[in-house]
């Protein structure tokens, strides 16, 4: 790495080792900042565009700060486009899916973390496959089944559909967490005569409370961000989620970009806040257990 100066330090050209270190760090900070500006620019652009008037978004030259700052777009989407409803729909579906998913995931994740049994490898593979199954294939039969069983435009329909990927996701993360809890703890309980279920409920689950929280947040964010199922299984605003509402603003001929950007901001701000607030707890689970840590 650039900053690890050679141990045999005969620093050339008058720079002391410390000076070279500082130079290296300065260059790295500069590169990091530059990349960060590029990375965050789209976010900046969402906010800025949402604070312009519709006229200004359709004018040249494009302005990097609004000529007229206005909250019109936000007023419009909340007062006339029913965005409070879409937000609450997304909230209901994401919370319900997550609660159910985490409950089942904790129970089953413990089994995967603690036992060796027949077909374990195959069942784990099944969970992993379910977690990253191509949703665009699933939406076709789900659309049909939802129609047949009256689950279209219902919370239950979306919750069942979301469970196909939220539940395996939560299960895998919980399994990884459980594996970090020393086995001696369950064993002590078993030696004392507890059933495995008691050991799980009384000893392990309380220890795993932070993991449950982290897993729930990841499940919630993943469900909140979903698009395919929500697009296909909702036809009215009754259960339509924020993602579908944002995308539906794109018009075939004209698009009111200040509204679209305000919608995008409203859909994104909650997840960004949750993420910033809990990022320390989330880091491990975010990779879906792909990295031990």
């Amino acid at each position: 790495m650039a900053t690890t100066a050679p141990m045999t330090a005969n620093a050339p050209s008058g720079l002391s080792r410390a000076g070279k270190d500082r130079l290296g760090t300065g260059v790295k900070v500069a590169i990091a900042l530059l990349l960060l500006v590029v990375t965050l620019f789209p976010m900046y652009w969402i906010i800025i565009s949402s604070l312009k008037t519709n006229l200004e978004t359709h004018s040249v030259p494009v302005t990097f700060l609004p000529a007229v700052w206005t909250l019109d777009a936000y007023q419009e989407i909340f007062e006339r486009r029913n965005f409070a409803k879409y937000l609450s729909n997304a909230m209901v579906v994401a919370v319900a899916t997550t609660l159910w998913g985490v409950a089942v995931a904790a129970w089953s994740g413990y089994g995967f973390a603690r036992y060796d049994f027949r077909y374990k490898g195959a069942l784990m593979a099944f969970v992993l496959i379910a977690q990253s199954f191509p949703r665009i294939l699933l939406v076709i039969p789900y659309f049909e089944l939802a129609n047949r069983f009256g689950l279209k435009d219902t919370y239950l329909g979306l919750i069942l559909a979301y469970s196909t990927f939220i539940q395996p996701l939560c299960l895998w993360i919980m399994k990884e967490y459980f594996e970090q809890i020393p086995r001696e703890l369950d064993e002590a309980a078993l030696v004392d005569g507890a059933t495995p279920y008691r050991a799980f409920w009384d000893i392990i689950l309380p220890l795993a409370r932070p993991a449950l929280g982290a897993t729930a947040i990841i499940g919630f964010l993943t469900a909140w961000n979903e698009y395919e199922f929500a697009l296909v299984l909702t036809t009215t605003e009754r259960v339509r989620t924020i993602s579908v509402a944002i995308a539906s603003f794109i018009g075939e001929f004209t698009t009111e970009w200040n509204l679209v950007m305000a919608a995008a901001a409203v859909g994104t701000v909650p997840v960004v806040i949750i993420f910033l607030f809990f990022q320390r707890q989330l880091m491990h689970g975010l990779t879906g257990g792909a990295v031990k840590g």
């Binding site: 990091a32 089953s108 990253s132 076709i140 089944l145 792909a290």
Partner: protein
């Protein structure tokens, strides 16, 4: 967590036997609720989709597959686009993700803050990257063209490029958006890998007079092979079945220039109302994912055994 201190774990098999002295039923009572539920939620719909692929107007048969593999030039086009989309996305995400991970793995002020901020695009709702990049790439009022004007790329009389409206650039633009969304995930995986590299190796190599490039080539790269493999597979799978970004940015257009497999499945199912053929395309997409998916599953389950 309070209990993460890894006390030396007992050998797994011995423990398992001791945990289940009486009944072998315990593990199944734990894992079955999940597995059964998932099986119902997945097997029934997939079975239904699979049945559909053998149905067409003329009755039962392989018509849909013949059509997809031989007659439908759009399907061929979409396969090509999907491979390009996935390939260039993964290359871009890997280079960018590795670069940022390298910067963040060393000594750096505000490292934790940088790490969090770089991760943000990964947290966005799936439609938002497509939405915002569509707006950035807008031909008339997009900020990209504005920037290109200001740096003198366009002459006064030039017509600005309609990035999403012309066949030569539409797919590339969607790839840019997908790289932006996906590289943070690559970064966080590779960063975890970099932090696990044994630092004494670097010290030793430095003593032996290896420069930064040689240390990178001979220590960092080999040590990152395993995690890179998993990260690239995950990025490939995610990009290969991506729907939201392309759908929102171009919906496969113009003139199918950015049509990928997922958007073609959606079109057939919900615009052309041909669910049988859409399901067939979906099953083909699944088949194309089986090799990377299988490798990913194997690598993940194996790493759990270590």
């Amino acid at each position: 967590m309070s209990a993460t201190s890894r006390a030396t774990p007992l050998p797994k098999r011995a423990t398992a036997q001791r945990l289940a002295p009486k009944a072998r039923i315990h593990p199944f009572l734990f894992v079955l609720p999940s597995v059964v539920m998932l099986a119902v939620l997945l097997a029934l719909p997939i079975g239904q989709a699979l049945l559909r692929t053998f149905q067409s107007d003329t009755g039962w048969g392989l018509d849909n597959y013949v059509r997809a593999l031989r007659d439908d030039h759009l399907a061929r086009l979409a396969i090509g686009h999907t491979f390009s989309f996935a390939f260039f996305s993964v290359v871009g995400q890997y280079i960018l993700g590795f670069g940022v991970a390298l910067i963040l793995s060393g000594k750096l002020p505000f490292r934790a803050m940088f790490r969090v901020l770089f991760l943000l695009p990964w947290m966005f709702p799936a439609v938002v990257p497509g939405i915002v990049w569509r707006w950035i790439f807008d031909g008339l009022f997009g900020v990209l063209n504005e920037a290109l004007y200001r740096v003198g790329y366009y002459a006064e009389t030039d017509v600005p490029i309609a990035w999403l409206g012309q066949t030569s650039t539409a797919l590339g633009a969607t790839i840019v958006a997908n790289i932006w969304r996906g590289f943070p995930f690559m970064m966080i995986l590779l960063l975890a890998g970099l932090q696990a590299v044994n630092h004494e190796l670097y010290e030793a190599a430095s003593v032996d007079g290896a420069n930064a490039f040689r240390r990178f080539r001979d220590i960092t790269l080999p040590a990152m092979k395993g995690i890179s493999f998993v990260a690239i597979l995950l990025a490939w799978i995610g990009s290969f079945m991506n729907f939201a970004i392309v759908q929102v940015m171009t919906a496969g257009g113009p003139a199918n220039a950015s049509e990928v497999f997922a958007t073609l499945v959606y079109k057939n199912a919900f615009l052309y109302a041909d669910a049988n053929y859409a399901a067939t395309l979906g099953i083909l997409l699944l088949l194309l994912l089986m090799v990377p998916g299988g490798l990913y599953v194997r690598a993940t389950i194996r790493s759990g055994r270590d």
